[in-house]
């Protein structure tokens, strides 16, 4: 290892990057832009679900019940329908996501002290939206039932409505959201986005680096030079690691200052873990670049190993805990998951090395394997 030769290779790569103005600009614009778009847009708070009503009763009681939905911010009232037959069409066209069918004699039966079945039809296309909608429906119904029961108790036992209310709902729930008090998606999402962006952009910056030299033939200058393969790889990657670390700093500032995500953890540990992660993801790009012969193939393979796992297997949207064993196994194959835990731990939970050392170790191993594989794959005397 000769430091001067490494520096020479790095300097050459750096000049190339700086002279490609569009590339240099994009290297900083893409991460920041992704952070901004997803940070502002990516929420999972399902609200304003459009719904329609088939009210066969049209009584004061049925309107009172329906207003629980109409007045809720989770639902958007889109009007009354004549019959159940219209529901299918509206659901199929995604004009509504939910339809409520009030049976005839709804008010009358309740007044007589009898139970009534209310049908709710829910669009099941997007399972997460469906679970949320079901949750809202159950909550509205149980609140309404609590009131009905309270009135019933108060009538039958002759107690005041307030006392009856307690009897109807004897067990209260005190819900406490840990780490994210208002269960604000922005907080956890802004912090996990640091992972997401660092998983996608560094590999793309590096993926075309070596293969470009191979495809253009400029790699022969390296083959013919005294630079060893280790020196070449380190020198070649150093500028990209540098750019990615600068991006990491920008992303961290955006997450904490623009999106207001709290940072409770150990900054030193987080910075070190992030350096390991960035060398991991640049390593992914390098490996892809050594593996292929053409830039197009490098680009598509990078999509395969970055975008997909960082969306599906990082815990950004899809919780890993609820995957089936096959999914969990796949998630453990990608570095995204480990870093996502480190990010969440450092930002929201305020835990450090003592809890997260295992994840940091996994990342370090991952980086070591990637770099060793790259070293072994790169030859100055190519066979073909």
């Amino acid at each position: 290892m000769n430091l001067r030769r490494i520096l020479a290779v790095s300097y050459k790569e750096w000049r190339e990057i700086v002279r490609d103005r569009l590339f240099l600009t994009l290297a900083f614009v893409v991460p920041a832009a992704l952070m901004l778009v997803f940070g502002f847009g990516l929420t999972l708070d399902v609200e304003h679900l459009p719904f329609a009503v088939v009210d066969h009763d049209k009584s004061a009681a049925s309107r009172d019940y329906l207003h629980r939905y109409i007045d809720s911010r989770y639902f958007d009232y889109r009007g009354d329908l004549e019959s159940e037959r219209d529901i299918a069409r509206l659901l199929a066209a995604s004009r509504i996501r939910l339809a409520i069918v009030i049976p005839p004699r709804f008010g009358e039966r309740l007044a007589q002290g009898r139970a009534v079945a209310v049908q709710t039809l829910i669009d099941g296309t997007f399972p997460f939206r469906t679970s949320s909608s079901k949750g809202y429906v159950v909550a509205i119904n149980s609140a309404y039932n609590g009131e009905l029961l309270a009135r019933y108790i108060s009538d039958r036992m002759g107690v005041t409505l307030d006392a009856a209310m307690t009897m109807a709902q004897p067990v209260k729930v005190e819900m406490r959201y840990m780490f994210n008090q208002e269960i604000r998606s922005t907080w956890s999402i802004a912090s996990v986005l640091v992972m997401f962006v660092l998983m996608i952009t560094p590999p793309f910056l590096t993926a075309l680096g070596v293969v470009r030299e191979k495809e253009n033939g400029s790699i022969y200058n390296i083959y013919a030079s005294t630079v060893t393969r280790g020196e070449f790889l380190i020198g070649k990657l150093a500028p990209y690691v540098g750019i990615s670390l600068l991006n990491f700093l920008i992303l961290w500032l955006l997450a904490t200052h623009l999106f207001g995500a709290p940072f409770k953890g150990d900054p030193l540990f987080f910075a070190l873990a992030s350096i390991i992660f960035v060398s991991c993801t640049t390593g992914i790009g390098l490996l892809v670049s050594l593996f292929v012969r053409t830039q197009v193939a490098a680009m598509m393979l990078t999509v395969v190993v970055t975008i997909v796992p960082s969306v599906l297997y990082s815990g950004l949207l899809v919780p890993i805990a609820s995957m089936d064993p096959m999914g969990q196994f796949e998630a453990h194959l990608f570095p995204a998951m480990y870093y996502a835990d480190i990010v969440l731990g450092s930002f929201l939970k305020g835990v450090g090395l003592d809890v997260l050392w295992g994840k940091a170790l996994a990342l370090a191993l991952y980086a070591a394997v990637l770099w060793t594989a790259s070293f072994l794959l790169f030859h100055k005397r190519p066979k073909a």
Binding site: T125, A139, A168, V171, R176, I183, Q295, V303
Partner: protein
């Protein structure tokens, strides 16, 4: 008159022949890049398959209990936390241990039942159960909180009825709403009926933008564009075969993915017309390639093109509702969704395949896609022709 016909036929024949030759060239070039073929196959088959193994449902979330009452009533409540949503993770002697379990992620929910819980319920005094939820992961936190509240609410309701002496058979004679919700199209809410198709439509989008962009930039970067320029081919004759070739690759991949993965592995219900689905896919892939062509005119090398493609692709996928439902988009972005061609494609993909809808219902999405797609494609072609100017 006859002379003119012959001339016209000759010109059309020549045009088609050149088109065919160029398209073949693109397909051969792609086919010889074995790693590129591997990447494309992987995305269409394995990636879509892998998407079927994940989901956004709460499954076996660990509930740890601190039971300060140890009564029949508290045990009954605890045992209502059952799979598939929850899994009991044991009891703690001390309430403070819960915080540590949440820190390390060993528990998602910590349930705290107060002393004298049973006594309070039986004597009609209000009591409260504390639920602590790890909300660091919003999806899980939200669902766990919502289901816990449902379970405890139902428990309280049952206790109230029991105290009133209402038996299960007499429930009809209590004024209450019986909630009968039915889920359409995917009654068991299988994630495997959502994620793989959404992933397939995303993969189609990635290909439709990246493949033509790469095919066009590559010629510039390697200098082979000079060779093409000295041929009698017009810019359109250079461009169209590339786009059609990539569209064919995409259609082939989509067919394989639908047949082998969606139908073969996940038993996805193909309710609507497959012919309509493939027509829409062809229209989508063809028009969306306009974005790729546009990118290729801005970039001088593939590294630039790749970064530009990401800058366009990810927001476009995000605004389509493939990852989060449109109802979860903040105001402003909800409206911006009409600018993402994938938004219409997703609507139609699920509309046709899962809901069994036809053009009578989906015509407005098709119109939106056609108008937006044609604009995008026109823009791409205009830029492409200009760069030869």
């Amino acid at each position: 008159m006859k002379f003119l016909d012959d001339d016209l036929r000759g010109r059309v024949g020549l045009w088609l022949w050149r088109f065919w030759a160029m398209m073949l060239k693109e397909l051969i070039q792609l086919g010889r890049d074995s790693l590129l073929v591997f990447a494309i196959t992987y995305l269409f088959l394995f990636d879509v398959y892998m998407a079927g193994n994940v989901g956004m449902n709460l499954k076996n979330a660990v509930v740890t209990v601190h039971d300060a009452d140890h009564s029949a009533a508290s045990r009954e409540l605890i045992y209502r936390f059952q799979p598939p949503y929850f899994k009991l993770g044991g009891e703690m002697a001390d309430g403070r241990a819960g915080q540590r379990l949440l820190d390390t992620g060993e528990a998602l929910v910590v349930l705290d039942i107060p002393p004298r819980f049973e006594h309070d319920i039986q004597s009609g005094k209000p009591t409260a159960v504390q639920v602590q939820v790890d909300a660091a992961n919003t999806v899980l936190g939200f669902l766990a909180a919502s289901y816990s509240a449902q379970i405890i609410g139902q428990y309280g309701f049952d206790q109230a009825l029991a105290r009133l002496g209402v038996s299960a058979s007499a429930l009809e004679n209590v004024p209450m709403i019986r909630d009968e919700h039915r889920v359409w199209y995917n009654p068991n809410q299988k994630d495997a009926w959502f994620m793989p198709l959404s992933e397939l439509l995303v993969v189609i989008t990635i290909m439709a933008i990246m493949l033509p962009a790469a095919a066009a930039v590559r010629e510039k970067e390697r200098g082979t564009i000079e060779q093409l320029l000295v041929t009698p081919l017009s810019p359109i004759q250079i461009l169209l075969p590339k786009v059609v070739a990539m569209t064919l690759v995409i259609l082939l991949g989509t067919a394989a993915s639908i047949l082998l993965v969606l139908h073969g592995v996940f038993d996805f219900p193909m309710k609507g017309s497959l012919a309509l689905f493939f027509t829409v896919t062809a229209l989508y892939a063809f028009t969306t390639s306009g974005l790729g062509i546009f990118i290729s005119t801005l970039a001088r090398n593939l590294a630039q093109a790749a970064l530009l493609a990401i800058l366009v692709l990810l927001p476009m996928i995000f605004l389509s509702g493939a990852w989060t439902p449109p109802e979860a988009m903040p105001a402003g972005l909800r409206e911006a969704m009409v600018l993402s061609p994938l938004y219409y494609f997703i609507e139609m993909g699920y509309g046709i395949l899962l809901k069994g809808a036809g053009l009578d219902i989906l015509w407005d999405s098709l119109l939106g896609l056609a108008l937006l797609g044609m604009t995008i494609f026109g823009l791409g072609v205009w830029r492409f022709r200009r760069q030869f100017g």
